[in-house]
Symmetry: C2
Subunit: 361 residues, 2 copies
């Protein structure tokens, strides 16, 4: 081999080594794996605070990773019906789904304690219980046997207590009422004599208009606004005793999750935490605007009398105890939540100003 | 040139090109710039929810970037005294600082409206005003002329109203009181006849023990616990009317910030949002534990009577109006906050359950 040839090879080798090591440093610096997930949604992507976090997550992960991590979400039913998201993620048909996990309470009884339950915590205490207490650990345990890794990825405050053809002044007003009401709150109203049905959000307007139901709850004021219920019903009742918070979760197939680079996992987790904070801010921003618009349209925003709330809480605890007696995991989650609420009550009750301090002047 | 030599060069060129393009894809995929910031702190890094977010931020950025982004924080005074952090970031002595921006209210009158002010919003509404309303925009405007880019990077709930040698039952009890009290709340107490001093946290215990002051506020229950005040004072008063929230901010030199890759900026912003959520959760977790421990040690957790709170709010508004008359930016921020609180009050007052619903049973 000539000297020039040797030199040429050496230079080439040095060049390649340099480039290679730069590449290795870079690969070490940030997981360069490509993530392309199709993510089915349970609710439309425009519900403020409830589903808008999936937009934030998708956009920010794409921007930060320079396009390497792309979570493309699909509106309800485009890929799979809302009630089938859990199974589709579990069996790997889709790598991830973004859903209201209360939809799966028929299969996993304890999920409503995570998706929003009567007289449960409000968002600040819930975040404490979820991240610092048992919440996250127990939810991961619940989903592990279904091959799913769950992540909290949105939290908003209370719902409204619903839309009623007539005002609610006493507990007896629920007796005989034909009402659309979801989850554990529905069981409470059944105990009080209501006839509870669960019809999809898209059919509520028609059912009220045709008077096949007398009342309904759906979500928060700003989300209910999209259904246009204020056009036919003038009694809007608060607060949403039956759901003191609502969450959404990103469910990821556990096999897919475990195979990700640790850096990708950390980035997606951080993305959900950030999206949760921003979604909560959006939600608190939007609710008063919706309520003010209701006022302008002649909707009466009624607050349930405290004695009615106390009775609703009493019956709620009966219902919760009944479910806990039948389902071990429900009992574990409920006990953990009740213990923390009892503990947290001293701060919740004494540490914050009275609710009406805004209006002292 | 021999054929073998040509082939060898070709192979080498192909190899180098392949490696190079892999490297370019990787560089495109994630900003590989190295960030090494020394970050001085205004408070010790172990204050739950208040400063612990800087730990979360530092650790998660390092993990996600594979060590490329390192924010190394330094305890108060190690690099620069707490009151000099803003200047040190402004003039580029340090690229960033993590601070309680109320410390700079002598220079920028409007900052206490961001760091925690009397009868201001609680965290959920504040997050709405900050991200969705004028908050973030105005704060960026405030700091722009000082060459600083500010980022909200922690939020916690109300402080306690303080530690008092004697219980506070009526407004007159503040008259003649020698009290350590920070910020705008201190001006309110001065109007009520108190003699207000501002001594550093580390000297409070001694001042109370030597009876050179009769009372003090410092922070939230779990943070006050670290000062050991419960050993010498038995009257702990809530709620913290004078600071309905407390924030920390990451201040970044604007020249440094603007030169960062867009991906790095997006990652740091996301990191602060995530750290804020986790810090808030930690804080809500820790407060009731501190209060329960106080109870065991014979500390009486007193709640201020509503008529005292109403009077404190009346005087607060006088003080706020006086500052607003003298400082244009204070007036702009205050007006924006008051407008939003007025708007938000319908939701804050009616949308949530009464504070004591935890204890109905």
């Amino acid at each position: 081999m000539s000297i020039s040839k040797k030199l040429s090879r050496l230079a080439c080798a040095i060049g390649a080594t340099t480039v290679l090591s730069a590449s290795l440093i870079s690969a070490d610096a940030m997981a360069v794996e490509k993530i392309r997930w199709q993510v089915p949604l349970a609710f439309p992507s425009h519900l403020v605070g409830l589903t808008t976090p999936i937009k934030h997550l998708s956009e920010s992960l794409k921007a930060i990773s320079g396009g390497d991590i792309q979570l493309r979400y699909y509106e309800p039913g485009e890929l799979v019906p809302p009630f089938e998201i859990m199974d589709a993620v579990s069996n790997g048909k889709y790598p991830a789904g973004y859903t209201w996990i209360g939809y799966d309470q028929g299969t996993i009884a304890s999920l409503p304690l995570y998706s929003g339950a009567p007289f449960n915590m409000e968002p600040p205490a819930y975040l404490a219980w979820y991240y610092e207490g048992d919440g996250k650990k127990l939810l991961e345990e619940i989903y592990a046997e279904r091959n799913i890794h769950p992540m909290l990825c949105s939290i908003i405050g209370p719902e409204g207590a619903g839309w009623f053809a007539k005002p609610v002044e006493k507990l007896e007003d629920f007796d005989g009422l034909r009402i659309r009401f979801a989850g554990i709150g529905g069981k409470v109203l059944e105990k009080l004599g209501a006839s509870v049905t669960m019809i999809p959000g898209g059919e509520i307007y028609q059912a009220l208009e045709r008077k096949t139901i007398d009342a309904t709850e759906f979500s928060q004021p700003a989300i209910d606004k999209m259904l246009g219920l204020d056009q036919i019903i003038k009694n809007y009742i608060m607060p949403g005793w039956h759901q003191t918070l609502t969450t959404s979760h990103l469910l990821v197939n556990k096999g897919v999750w475990d195979k990700l680079e640790p850096q990708s996992r950390a980035l997606i987790e951080m993305g959900c935490e950030s999206a949760t904070l921003k979604g909560f801010a959006e939600s608190e921003w939007a609710q008063p605007t919706a309520l003010r618009e209701y006022e302008k349209q002649g909707v009466k925003a009624q607050v349930l009398p405290e004695e009615v709330l106390r009775e609703l809480e009493r019956v709620t605890n009966e219902v919760l105890d009944e479910i806990a007696a039948k389902d071990e995991m429900f009992n574990r989650v409920l006990t953990s939540q009740r213990d923390f609420m009892k503990h947290h009550s001293i701060w919740h009750g004494k540490g914050y100003l009275p609710r009406d301090y805004y209006q002292y002047e």
